[in-house]
Symmetry: C2
Subunit: 448 residues, 2 copies
């Protein structure tokens, strides 16, 4: 599905592995992936990308070609390179299910594995989890803004490469979009594929109305006519007699699309033209530089719009195209560890998140603590892989999407707004604070 | 190299192709890729990604599995799906070489091909060209800011997926970076791979100095010690006696890395500690949320920094993570075409860009005109593919990087600044204006 090369990593993972090899250091390490802080304006995140992480871990291995290149590149000694030939991921993974709402400092993935395995995978694990999580969170905001309007991912062309296009189609569907224009994503994950026509289709014809007719005859059951290549209202007026002509042949025009100008205003005028022509069943679909703010404005002003094609700004998470996220060592050889770099301190040890709900089902607050410290509420991380093998088949994407929908419904009302609000309460349990203090005392003693 | 599926496209390309098939429309179409306007704050762009476009075009075909899925999905009729089996790209391509500076409205790629081929490839062509061009432009700004400091791409982990990580390593190297931490990019394109160590390496050891020593002994010729896991100055002071001990065994410490806090201030203190300890040859490398602005500040304040690891903000082009770019039909069946949607008008016909230079070699202005209208200066687009075959082997990436360097040196001084300045002059030649007017007249007649 995705690029599985073991060399899809930062060089330093391999230089560290050689040093570990030389020292015979390969005891059990525990790493956790978490986000340090929310991007400005975001109120929550949505876990996504676990499926691709598990695929990666299951298939991780160095090919002969890769090993030969590592030996040739001059940075590694032959005994170390030879030791990589049998490297497989043999560890355990616990994770929040995809579609789970989460907050800063909360691990969504924990890897427990021999040091060389747990370290090597860092780069790709972050690469997979940050991107889908970020896009899912952005897409969830668009879904909240659109209420129940049709939402289609249109972003493949301006996604950052092919994999970004595919994974953003997946993440946005998980977060509540209804489909994607990305055909390959449709084939891979059974995501509904949706689409209209391009301006070039109109331009290739000498006559706009002829273009509409050709398209509708070729797609009698699913057609959306793009009406803004020249003049929107002229085109809308041309649709009326055309629809009557097509109806005589049993073909119904389904929708029109607007892709430029003042979308709300155009939609109102087009709606009036279509309704006056007896085409009240023809829906209006809009696209062009949409994001959650533009969609919310269109909805708030009551623009007669039935669906939105949302691309670039959603699947690049354009206002915040990265997360401040890390995959950090929390324990090695049975000893909890903690990084204390300025502004980048981490909570040590194997952790769990417990979530409380009120009677209505809305989430009210989380407790972050050490794994062994049971707290009231539901634990969010569960084992998904043991000794390199999945504990069960992955849920279908449609099921994960249902979870995402349920989770969004459980958000406190304030967090469902587009503007940032009081942060959701994530409480550090006394047991975790005590562990952090103990690790600090130990580290101070070692460095003094 | 990159994902080559013919289904890596928007659904509407295929629905349009069915309509063209039904109408028997498959005459020669001309499409051009260009950027509509510069992102705020950018003064120029740098063409990149052509190599991946040509690879895609050379290998484009539908697999049996893909054809079977298209038939199953219920949107297409069997005769049309069958017609896709023999689809190959048989057209011509002209392009600006990678590493060429360019400006809005200037096509960097022109495709001339039978309509179905030229249309189908739209999505992936934009996907490949926009991303690398955007990253190359961003990386070029970092190069200009860093003057001659060492620049290393550290961004794989927060790139948008694997392909984004690989292509941003390539694009940043093309734009003047010295290397990448991305091992697979190193293997694929012979980009120098560079790296240090992670905080986890320090944390895995009970003692920070022991970690430094283990790493240096394992990498006697290339080692950079990460000194900010706990306290930077304590760590720097520990490097001094360690370096002496290692020197006795013929091992030299090469560099230290800072990844947190006030980098300029830390660098000054660390430089003083190292110099006082006789380690003036040990260089200082910094990383952490760097971009062209932070690098320029560090350079301007004279911070004793020898190299920069630049990741996330460069390879997501974080302040502007997309370009307003398009691949537009400019001609079909011998007739120039023009889109006139509000705010999205295009220049019709097959175009060429001519660039003027002053005696010093600096570029002074461009003329955009129709292909047949020779103008003073150098034409920037040249044929690279004919009838689906490349006209020659691709230049090695190192050669393209040299072109990028030359091009940046030719930029007018004002455009080399980080802040935005008076736009570079791109003049529309009378011949192109006349063609646009003629197309408008023809379209008006057709719609009246």
């Amino acid at each position: 599905m995705t690029d599985a090369s073991a060399l899809l990593t930062d060089l330093y993972q391999l230089t560290m592995l050689q040093a570990y090899f030389d020292q015979g250091m390969n005891e059990t390490a525990v790493f956790e992936f978490f986000v340090r802080k929310l991007p400005e304006g975001r109120n929550f995140l949505l876990a996504a990308g676990l499926e691709q992480v598990l695929e990666y871990l299951e298939t991780l291995r160095f090919t002969d070609e890769e090993l030969a290149w590592l030996e040739r590149c001059g940075r590694f000694h032959p005994r170390f390179v030879a030791s990589l030939a049998d490297l497989r991921f043999t560890g355990d993974v616990a994770a929040m299910p995809e579609g789970t709402v989460f907050f800063p400092s909360e691990p969504i993935l924990r890897v427990t594995a021999p040091l060389r395995e747990a370290q090597l995978i860092e780069t790709r694990v972050i690469n997979l989890l940050q991107f889908q999580t970020m896009v899912a969170a952005k897409a969830a905001r668009v879904r909240l803004a659109a209420t129940d309007g049709l939402l289609v991912d249109f972003g493949l062309r301006r996604a950052h490469g092919a994999e970004a296009g595919l994974l953003s189609a997946r993440a946005s569907y998980l977060a509540g979009f209804d489909g994607s224009s990305n055909v390959l994503a449709g084939m891979r994950w059974n995501i509904p594929v949706l689409g209209t026509m391009a301006h070039s289709f109109i331009q290739a014809h000498a006559d706009e109305t002829a273009a509409f007719e050709h398209f509708a005859r070729s797609h009698p059951k699913a057609n959306t006519l793009l009406i803004d290549t020249y003049d929107v209202e002229t085109a809308a007026r041309a649709v009326v007699p055309l629809a009557a002509k097509l109806a005589a042949d049993g073909i119904s025009v389904q929708a029109v699309r607007l892709d430029s100008g003042n979308l709300g205003e155009h939609a109102r005028r087009v709606r009036a033209i279509l309704d006056a022509g007896g085409l009240s069943q023809v829906s209006i679909f809009v696209s062009g530089s949409l994001d959650e703010y533009v969609v919310a404005d269109l909805v708030a002003t009551g623009a007669p719009i039935n669906g939105f094609g949302v691309g670039t700004r959603m699947n690049t998470s354009a206002d915040h195209p990265y997360l401040d996220c890390v995959y950090k060592m929390q324990e090695y050889a049975g000893m909890p560890r903690r990084k204390r770099s300025e502004g980048k301190e981490t909570w040590p040890g194997r952790k769990q998140v417990f979530r409380q709900f009120e009677a209505s089902g809305r989430m009210t607050g989380d407790i972050l603590t050490v794994e062994s410290d049971a707290q009231p509420g539901s634990p969010l991380l569960a084992p998904v892989m043991r000794a390199g093998r999945r504990l069960g088949p992955s849920p279908p994407l449609a099921e994960l999407r249902q979870r995402g929908r349920t989770e969004l419904a459980r958000l406190p009302q304030a967090l469902r707004q587009l503007s940032s609000t009081t942060a959701y309460a994530v409480t550090i349990a006394p047991a975790l604070q005590a562990l952090a203090d103990a690790v600090d005392r130990r580290t101070r003693q070692a460095t003094e």
